[in-house]
Amino acid sequence: MRKGILGWVLAVCLSFAVSATAADEIKIGYMATMSGPAASLGIDILDGFKLGMAHKGGKLGGLPVELIMGDDQLKPGIGVQVANRFIEKEKVDFVTGIVFSNVMMAVAKPITDAGIFLISANAGPSPLAGARCLPDLFTVSWQNDQTHEAMGKYLQDEGVKRLYLMAPNYQAGKDGLAGVKRYFKGEIVAEVYTKINQPDYAAELAQLRAAKPDGVFVFYPGGMGINFVKQYAQSGLKEEIPLYTTAFTIAQMVLPAMGDAALGLLNSSFWGPDLDTPVNRKFVADFRKEYGRLPSLFAAQGYDAALLIDSAIAAVGGDLSDKEALRKALRKADFASVRGDFKFNRNHFPIQDFYIRKVIKNSEGVLTTKIIGTAFEDHADAYHSECDMQW
């Protein structure tokens, strides 16, 4: 227990060491999963965010920025700990990042309860878009279901008759398939849920082949997606039954690991590197120059998060004390988004277009995606009517 005292002494010393706050800067807490296998999303968002700052002269809203990092390790408990460090020790003005829904569900309330604006650059779980929407939470990415709904709509429009669904057996997986079914009205041959982080799908693929559907939709993010797409191609199914998925499976950073197995796959997203807006052209070009790789949708979200914060701080003239004015400014979303038009719904989730993308090889032989169609224009999420926020 003496270690406890030592720790306490250490802790007090530390708090003196880091407590100096200049009045004329903003403190932003960046929380994401920065370690472990899922780290690449958090890193892409951060790189996008930093590029956004760089485009604003290294400042946001004219104020110098102190960016404070926090790694949630993909554990909600650790996320809460990081949130408390941001709130109680660093006393940040904004928190952004947040890759995973489970971490978001754990930290959204403590952060916003403390009077801190939370700008989600990725996670958009349904409860926070519906009945439990929060006035100080702004989600600059999407609501989880939206991207899946876009693919559901496309499959319905394309006249696919018999669809086979697969996802990991967890909430995001179930939400994803629910999103597809909201717009796809044909026959669902089977709805298969697999173990979380299951590496091998040989058994499920054999069942799938035997069921002979017209199309397969899967939601497998990250490493699970790499495994699934590779094995789908290797089993020879790719030529027999078209595979449909979302940008969560076909994200830019996983394409190199999938290789040609991903070539030609259709997936839905609110964004693509070839989206033809002036802001996006500059974003993609500068991102490549800065980091030597193509940005993913996650990087685009990070970039927009920086621009959103910049626009709001500029609108209130750098006065962070008036929360009401700042909230109003955030709601306006008066910034040039990489996706062109951008506006917030009343639940502070975006209303935006969704596209269907195809995996191609660009002129340099690098795998990337190309937009081939629009699934939705100005698509609002399915939960906003349950949110009673008025503005």
Binding site: S35, G36, P37, A39, S40, I43, N169, Y193, T194, K195, I196, N197, P199, D200, A202, A203, E204, A206, Q207, A210, G222, G223, M224, I226, N227, K230, Q231, Q234, S235, G236, M253, V254, P256, A257, M258, G259
Partner: protein, 290 residues
């Protein structure tokens, strides 16, 4: 389920079983002979995949990559044994669990710093990329079939090596009569390092074989490492024969569990199987020591 599906799924189960065997053979040997629980065995699997993927990118050939990576992983394993694990042989299991748990943290971070946080790509060799008709009308990925064959080959090789060669005899003797073998003038230290290296090579080989079908990323060795522990516990710790039987059992049970049981139950199926086996045979199916 149709007849064809039964055949395919049994093959899938076998393929998983063979993979598990490659992992658990090393674990069970190291445990049986040196009495060491090595949680970091999964890290060797991961290193195998990363090294082979790197060599494949450099040389363009999967086979050359494997030829280069297997001895390298073996070397890393032996280095690990000589620097750290050797000191743990006469400690209790607890210390071993802790030190090797710490090794996992270390290797995961090392790999992330070396190869970056993104998953790494590894291609199926061109010649094995298609499917073969194992029976009329039943296509099966050629590469997976290769895994079954290669893994079974290693299993047979290991069986012959341990059963028929002089070195194998010493290893067998070392497992049961450690002091005696030492007294007979065998360099026990060297023997242990060699056995560990052999286990490492097999784990690395499993990682290499898995690389083209799985996502090569940090932490990829942990799920299979836990399954491999289930295998050696079911098979009887220290028994290579038991490990083989249990690996195939677990592989087939897991595969059929996944397609026949609801997902909540199927993810627990293997552990229920293990608890069941231990309930009736607390020393596993093939106890190594009497």
């Amino acid at each position: 389920m149709s007849m064809q599906l039964w055949v395919v799924q049994t093959l899938n189960g076998l393929q998983l079983g063979v993979m598990l065997f490659l992992m658990s053979a090393g674990l069970t040997l190291v445990f049986g002979i040196m009495n060491l629980i090595n949680l970091a065995h999964g890290s060797l699997y991961m290193l195998g995949a990363y090294l082979a993927a790197t060599f494949q990118a450099l040389t363009g050939s999967f086979f050359i990559a494997c030829l280069l990576a297997v001895p390298l992983v073996m070397g890393i394993g032996m280095l690990m044994e000589m620097s750290i694990l050797r000191r743990l042989y006469d400690r209790d299991h607890l210390d071993q669990v802790l030190a090797t748990f710490a090794l996992i943290l270390f290797f995961n971070e090392l790999v992330r710093m070396t190869w970056g946080p993104q998953a790494y790509f590894m291609a199926i060799p061109e010649s094995l990329s298609g499917t073969v008709e194992i029976l009329p009308g039943i296509p099966y990925p050629a590469y997976r079939l290769t895994i079954v064959l290669a893994g079974s080959g290693v299993a047979v090789g290991l069986y012959l090596f341990i059963g028929r060669t002089r070195l194998g005899m010493i290893i067998r003797a070392g497992a049961t009569h450690r002091e005696m073998v030492g007294a007979l003038g065998v360099n026990i230290k060297l023997l242990y390092t060699f056995v560990f290296g052999m286990g490492a090579a097999m784990a690395g080989f499993a990682g290499m074989m898995a690389g083209p079908i799985l996502s090569v990323e940090t932490g990829m060795g942990e799920p299979i490492m836990i399954l491999a522990f289930v295998v050696i516990v079911i098979g009887g710790i220290g028994s290579v024969r038991g490990a083989f039987a249990a690996a195939v059992l677990v592989g087939v049970a897991d595969t059929f569990g996944r397609i026949l049981l609801p997902p909540a139950l199927s993810s627990m199926a293997i552990y229920i199987l293990m608890a069941g086996v231990l309930c009736f045979r607390p020393q596993g199916l093939f106890p190594a020591h009497g």
